[in-house]
Amino acid sequence: MDVGDRDPVTGQLTTGHEWNGITELYTPVPRIVFFFLFVTILFSIVYWVLMPAWPLGWTYTKGILGFDQKAVVQSQLAEAGAEQSAWTSRIDGMDYAAIQADPELMKIVHEAGATLFGDNCAVCHGTGGTGGKGFPDLTAGAWLWGGEPEAIAETLRVGINAPHEETRVSQMLSFGRDGILVRDQIDDVVGYVQSLGPSAAAAHDEEALARGAEVFAGNCAACHGEDAKGNRDLGAPNLTDASWIYGGDRQSITSTVYSGHQGLMPSWEQRLTPTQRKILTLYVLGLSGETQ
């Protein structure tokens, strides 16, 4: 290669070529570049010798460490399972009351339950379990299907209106849309339902209230009960407490009576292990303050 002028700043010669005013210096490659090329290539060669690296047609070089990511992950899973079995076997073998009486196990239930709840339940029931419109508040103690551990565990296992063979089934009919009740009747029964709650204001219209009570007895009591305290065999909510799934204001109740509801909770039998569901049951009980 021809060598051209000397650059006054660096003292290096140019290559003698010029492109549209651009020249290049003939500066030698700094040694550090070769040094790091050597170091990185040496590291690579050592790593290839130690680890699975090069394909050989039907197989590959296995590496002298015998390291295999599938074997590693399997042994790590087995190890973690063995570590956890110290307490999972106790949880599996004990009944709910016995676990609740064991502070050491309950600490694990709270830690593991919080993560299980966050990953599986919080998306509907909220991170604190307080629910939202259409999603029951689990901290209120207003259980639709029963607040005993066995009842909660069953709800977790089969779900509600879920695609599980034994699913719990519950439906609030569309009294308005299906023409079972007319507008005036809905107005009356909504007024009556509102009068049942603990914070109900004094009724303005005793006559309407009486009409509403009549509509209630004829249409709603079958599921919600004569006393409107609900029926846990049918998942029918108690209408006399302060807890509302779809809202307790006049408009929300009207819309519920008119259109009905058929809320869905997934079944967790396929997704979570029996131990995980047991932990979640205890965790959910804890949310409502019914732990001890």
């Binding site: 010029e18 651009i22 290049e24 003939y26 680890m51 090069w54 390291f67 956890q84 990953d119």
Partner: protein, 551 residues
């Protein structure tokens, strides 16, 4: 601009546009019950609009043969303006999706505005719209000057530029309709891919023909990089997009690959798109505009050679580092990781070669924001390639993978390297192309520089924090051996960083808007014209006066 085309070229343009409109009509009819039909209508409208543009000056007098003595810069000019246009669109989409991540309730209730459709529209608009147009425009400019040869014809440069933008429009319109083959950075469906293949082969042929006409005995290093970019992107694009359409009347196609082979092909493509689209092409840009603007010789020709061959050889192996700890056989991961580590050396050699070129011109870096854009780009190039090799190490990747650290890394490269070198090059080339003494406002260039730099730094720091916190939260265990944090808790922890990211992106967008305004003001004659215009010609030997920094 049409008047500069010869009568034969005008006729050819109309014929090609008519053929394109017919192809659009065929798509519209065959795909009338499918998004393909909408794409057909877009192609018809696109071709029809251009036919009118050509017909408006169809009977203008034949241009003077004198023009053939000068470089052909009209396509470069249009490409620069299109590039700035796509920058604003793409970055605005980026700020929108960043805001959606911070405040999900901001969404409007429309399918096209869902995150999953906006996000590829953002990535394609910035990578292909902004980056691609800048690469095509500057490659025309650089190869003519460093080869001292005019482009071989006037039709094919337009065919490549406009055909490429048609691809970008079809891609973006497709995302909003939900048309995607779900391959990252290769989302457009089979017909858009076929069209891009035609355009890209025309680009390759155009480039080779220009090089064949060169008057310089040697091929300048910038052209090695541009050529590597064009050649390898063609290869990547064709292989990764091999697919069988459901029918000729449907947008949907099925990839020729499946399972882990599909994943490997996709990331062989994906990482080399980073390598040859977002690195090699922009290194070509840097190797021309940085020494021109600095008025300095390249630090070392020999270093250029080592880095070029190092980069082109090593990058080809690195894609599997995107698939650490997956179903991909471990030996492929090993090769990806080790070649990624060696790759650091030629990458830093390139960054070092650029920075050392500035020796003797550091006072210009201090005073000239345009050169400072290029200097900062070289620094970010070095930082990002270091980070990339680091993240390719398997145990590091086990922490960083699937977290925002990856997003931070990509944006350190995309904002810090690709966008800064592009803005620097555009600020250098706009006064040269439009024969102005300088940009309309040097102060606005300064504002753009600091907005872009602070936006990048805020963005990248936010994502580093967010990504590392995410990675650590996902691997924290209780004493009992269960996970401490649920996924949703890691989402809550991300919230402040997502707000910071949206803010950093907003600063970057503001800079791009200021830059676009500055470019438009410069080319519409709000800055002084250069009086001597005769030097920047292919038949003249030596330097061009008008190509000197004018500030």
């Amino acid at each position: 601009m049409v008047a500069q085309l010869s009568k034969g070229e005008r006729q050819l343009s109309v014929i090609v546009l008519l053929a394109l409109a017919l192809a659009g009509l065929a798509m519209a009819v065959a795909g009338r019950a499918d998004p393909l039909g909408v794409h057909g209508i877009i192609v018809i409208l696109f071709s029809a609009a251009l036919i009118f543009v050509v017909l408006a000056q169809f009977n203008a007098p034949e241009p003077s043969p004198e023009r053939l003595k000068d470089y052909y810069d009209d396509p470069s000019k249009v490409g620069i303006v299109l590039s700035m246009f796509w920058a604003v669109i793409g970055m605005a989409l980026g700020v929108w999706v960043a805001a959606l991540l911070a405040w999900p309730d901001l969404t409007i209730d429309a399918a096209w505005a869902s995150f999953g459709r906006l996000r590829p529209a953002h990535t394609s608009a910035v990578i292909f719209g902004f980056g691609g147009n800048a690469l095509i425009a500057t490659s025309y400019h650089v190869m003519q000057r460093t080869s001292r040869a005019r482009l071989p014809g006037q039709f094919s440069p337009w065919f490549v530029l406009i055909g490429y933008n048609l691809f970008c429009v079809v891609a973006a319109a497709g995302y909003f309709m939900g048309v995607t083959q779900s391959k990252e950075y290769a989302e457009p469906e089979w017909y858009a891919d076929i069209w891009l293949t035609i355009v890209w082969i025309a680009y390759f042929v155009l480039y080779i023909r220009t090089l064949a006409r060169r008057k310089e005995p040697h091929i300048y290093v910038a052209n090695w990089y541009y050529l590597a970019f064009i050649l390898v992107v063609a290869m990547l694009h064709i292989v990764n997009n091999l697919a069988v359409p459901v029918s000729l009347g449907h947008a949907k196609s099925y990839s020729a690959f499946s399972g882990v082979q599909d994943a490997m092909t996709q990331w062989w493509y994906g990482h080399n798109a980073v390598a040859f689209f977002l690195t090699a092409g922009f290194l070509g840009m840097m190797y021309y505009y940085l020494p021109k603007r600095a008025g300095r010789p390249i630090f070392s020709y020999r270093l250029s050679i080592i880095s070029f061959w190092g980069i082109t050889f090593m990058y080809m192996w690195a894609g599997s580092h995107h698939l650490h700890y997956t179903a991909l056989p471990q030996w492929v991961q090993t090769l990806g990781m080790t070649f990624s580590l060696v790759l650091l050396v030629p990458s830093w050699a390139s960054a070092g070669n650029a920075l050392a070129t500035l020796n003797g011109a550091w006072h210009k870096v201090r005073d000239d924001a345009t050169l400072r854009f290029m200097m900062a780009a070289a620094v970010f190039y070095g930082l990002t390639t270091f980070e990339g090799s680091f993240l390719a190490i398997r145990p590091v990747n086990s922490l960083s993978h699937y977290t925002d650290w990856t997003i931070g890394h990509v944006h350190a490269g995309a904002l810090g390297w690709v966008a800064l070198i592009t803005f620097g090059s555009i600020y250098a080339v706009v006064p040269w192309l439009w024969r102005r003494q300088a940009m309309y406002s040097a102060r606005l260039v300064e504002w753009h520089f600091w907005l872009a730099l602070s936006g990048t730094v805020i963005y990248v720091f936010a994502m580093w924090n967010s990504g590392i916190i995410q990675g650590l939260m996902w691997r924290t265990y209780n004493e009992s051996g269960t996970l401490t944090y649920s996924f949703i808790e890691s989402m809550v922890a991300m919230h402040p960083y997502y707000i910071a990211r949206a803010f950093g992106g907003l600063l970057f967008l503001l800079g791009a808007i200021i830059g676009t305004y500055n470019v438009l003001m410069t080319i519409t004659g709000h800055s002084k014209a250069v009086e001597e215009v005769g030097e920047d010609m292919p038949h003249r030997a030596g330097a061009a006066i008008s190509a000197e920094p004018a500030e």
